[in-house]
């Protein structure tokens, strides 16, 4: 098979948040990274006296945790303030991202409408670093919904 072409990197990715599943605010200018944990299907295994290998069982899919790394700023309407309020009030907060940027037909992955922030929204850093301050937002969602940008 010939080597594939057209592979995209993350350099032009886009990230958005929403507090109502309708209006999405672009936060690509804050965001420096996206990572995901969870969501993998639960599996089980058992062994019998006879065989040498496991018998496998495949179960449900647990929730997904989507984490973004965002620049820390202190404006009243900035991402930090919005996220901190949503985390404290336990209100809806969704994230979505597009690895290729979100032009027409490019894939978009969104957290479900009942997503909430589950981590402490606070900037962290060390005295020996001159890097800009960042903070993390971790959103827990029942699934990541894949769609295409229009």
């Amino acid at each position: 098979m010939a080597q594939i072409t057209g592979v995209e990197s993350w350099v032009d990715a886009s990230v958005w948040y929403s507090t109502n599943d309708t209006d999405w605010t672009d936060i690509s200018g804050y965001c420096a990274g996206v990572s995901i944990s969870g969501g993998g299907r639960i599996t089980g295994e058992a062994y019998t006296f006879e065989g040498d290998k496991a018998i496998l069982g495949f179960g449900k899919r647990p929730p997904v945790e989507l984490t973004i790394n965002a620049a820390y700023t202190e404006g009243a309407a900035d991402l930090f303030a919005v996220a901190r309020t949503a985390a404290e009030d336990k209100t809806q907060f969704q994230l979505r991202f597009s690895p290729e940027g979100g032009d027409t037909a490019e894939f978009i992955f969104s957290t479900y409408s009942d997503s909430r922030i589950i981590n402490e929204i606070v900037p962290v850093g060390t005295a020996d670093s001159a890097d800009p301050a960042f903070f993390e937002i971790t959103v827990r969602s029942r699934e990541l919904i894949k769609g295409s940008a229009t």
């Binding site: 027409t104 894949k146 295409s148 229009t150």
Partner: protein, 119 residues
């Protein structure tokens, strides 16, 4: 006017779910072209209504009273105007559209759409 089947969830307000059938006029023409090129939507070329099982009588009546003889024509028509010309209730004509939409929806997608609706 073209009729499309949505092959991947389309993010807009509200989103078009996988399996949806419609004209997608809410989207710009250029967007529809790109989505079709990239395989996110596909144009539907539906058969004449008269050959769908159980549609012979309805197809004849539709053709006689409204000139519509294709699934695309029926789905794109305004329900109320159609009902008036057919001297039927809008709910019956809406049901006809749903029947045809079901005929055009792949079973796999139909099941997925149903799951989404149930949520």
């Amino acid at each position: 006017m073209k009729l499309y089947r949505v092959l991947d969830r389309l993010e807009c307000r509200p989103p078009f779910l996988k399996g949806h059938i419609g004209t997608l006029l809410k989207l710009k023409e250029r967007s529809r072209q790109i989505l079709e090129e990239k395989g996110r939507i596909a144009q539907i070329h539906a058969p004449p209504l008269a050959i769908l099982p159980g549609w012979r009588y309805r197809a004849r009546r539709l053709r006689k009273k409204t000139g519509i003889d294709s699934a695309e024509g029926l789905l794109m028509a305004d329900v109320d105007k159609l009902a008036e010309r057919l001297q039927l209730s809008s709910s019956i004509v809406g049901q006809w559209q749903d029947d045809v939409r079901n005929w055009l929806t792949v079973a796999h997608n139909r099941r997925q759409s149903w799951h989404r609706l149930r949520e």
